[in-house]
Amino acid sequence: MKNILKTIMLVLIIGLAACDDYIEVDPVGPDADDYFNNQAEYESALIGAYDLLQASFWNVLAGVVASDDYAAGGDSFNYDQPTLQNINLMIQTPADENQLRDIWNLMYAGINRTNYILEFKNKTDFAGKDEIIAQTYFLRAYYTFELVKFLEIYL
């Protein structure tokens, strides 16, 4: 009887105390504030910053049809890329913001990734870091330039 009571009390007390520890779950992998501890992590984040260059094909598409060099083509009656056609004719409205909205979103995502590296640029020193930081500054400038080409932004 006494042993069972002791067990019950123990289970309850452990339950109460263990509860708080039990719900402490650590995520797999580092959190964003605990990164940039070595060269490899700087390089890895730099690949992340380069990634958005691959999204700039939108800029090329929207850019060429906005110019006099190309026509958007297609059949406007049949809704073949109507938003590109509207950019072609310079009659885009807030409703057909597809490509321009994507350019805005993706280029700012690129800027965000470069800023993430620059926020921690002084955290860890290693040989060759200047080059990584310089590439980061270039990418940020490039993404900003892409935005300025299309949109009015605050610089």
Partner: protein, 632 residues
Amino acid sequence: MSAIEIVNPLAQIENTFNTTRVSKIAATLGLDYTFWNNFKFSSKFQINHANVRDDIFRPEVDYGPGKTLNQTGNEIVDNGADFDDYTWDNYLTYTNTFNEKHNLTVLLGTSIFRTKGLFYGRTGTTDTNTNRFGDAISDLDGTVTLTPRFNDAAIAVGNNIFDDRLGSVFGRVQYNYNGKYLISVALRRDGSSKFAEDNRYGYFPTGSIGWNISDEPFLEDSSWLNSLKLRASYGVIGNDRIPSFGFVSLLTGEATYAPGNEVTQDDLLNGTAIGLIGNPSLKWEEQVAQNIGFDARLFDSKVSLSLDLFSRKTEDLLLSPQASGLIGSAAPGSALPFVNAGTVENKGIEISVGYNNRIGDDFEFNLGFNITTLDNKVVSLNGNIPPVGGEFGVGISQTGISRMIPGQPLGHFYGYKTDGIYQTQAEINALNASSPEGTYHEGAAPGDLKFVDVNGDGEITADDRTNIGDPIAEVTMGFNLGFQYKNIDFSATAFASIGNDMVRDYERKNLYANRGTYMLERWQGSGTSNSVPRAVGGASINTDLFSDFYVEDASFLRLQNVQVGYTFNEKQLEGLGVDKLRIYVSGNNLFTLSDYFGYDPSASNGAPIGSGIDKGFYPVAKSYLLGVNLNF
């Protein structure tokens, strides 16, 4: 040159081979121990396991030049997932009666809950025709290129797993005096792994009082009132239904750069980037529920009646609103943060009435009806900017068509109000003449929808958008009917929802794509229609702007279930070794009455902001069951 994503749906079905297998196992282990007469200790351990396997075969198919659904080479996908959850409850109950009239129950306990999952899989592609449906990936060794579902970089940041935990400590005191006056008070402290340490715990009190008036001397002998109970309650419950680790920014974003000279997967450069953007101040959403009502049984308990007045206030509502691209969340693998958006209130009345009786010896029946009214309103926002969500348009989409604005229903549709169709150019010219800029509505032509100048500035601009409906039903009703005649039993249930609006958003704007038959009634010249605009290709205010032309009343009445059964007499079963045998026929979702044009007026994605937008939901299936109940 038709739109590249439209293909023949029958061909698509013919070329789709998806098999999902689910295996589940559940177990419960419980222990009750009673001691010192009044004390009881209970421990309960529960485990659920589920394994889900998806086998997908995508054969090489060519739907025509440039179609996005074309498949080059055969592809086999073999994906799987393991889900496990555990619950362990421990509690101590003390029950006692003092002086034969004071009944007391005290409960103290803890509860631990964990849910975890593991996802895995691989995709095999080949440009040869050697594989057929039914081939396993292992049969194709050497002929396929295998790609794991999660690469090493994704596994290193935990994209293939989840693990959420809840820990609660709770206490409850229940007291009643002779079963007549009842009071109950409870408090629980819930901790969730989904919140940062400072906001991890929530304290949720609940309390209720009840009074069995029919036990009082002045009503005890009532001939028509069998039971009457008055009750009132107040309670707070917490909600943590958001993804894991929303309070911290993790490096779960996608950062894969194709250098241009890659041959295999290993040649791609995998980096790191921020995934879901963290909101460190995320905290429990709290629902404060208040309720006052009564339950009664009258006339030999043939009639039952209950009425409730309720108010449910959701404070710090958790959601992920759309936000500016400036936040940088548009990158692949990234997502906008969850926030505690504000306070929403639901108020209403709930009434339920039941009647059961017996006619003769063989016929017994029951009828039931319940009705709930709901008044939903956003009370306040945590911040100044109204959260937006939802998307409208197939192909060309507009975001932010659903909004959370104080004083308005949660997630109401925000767009242009229309008032018929422009019938003549003269009508448009007259409006242009009185407009400050000389153009009343840019792009409008005869046959187009006539938008309402809500703010009265003499022209149609984005500022004229307003509340044009909401997906929340104002009234819901339930009906049930059942009877038993000799060996035959019958039951039926129906449900009605009134006042819920739905956005018709499954139709392409492309004129060569299929449209609803309502297009036959379209405007085809002055005076032909004042409700359906003209057919127009390319840019148009009718199709490009979200207006109430696309918002429909999706009120409906649905016969949810009808069942007819026959139970055999014991005599008929003699010698068969069977105690009870009943056969039945049951039909689910037999019909739905609705004016809604789409497939399913009850479809919703359940998001607080952005629900009720019909992107072509798969409708609820009609099903018939033939069943046998057998007891040995």
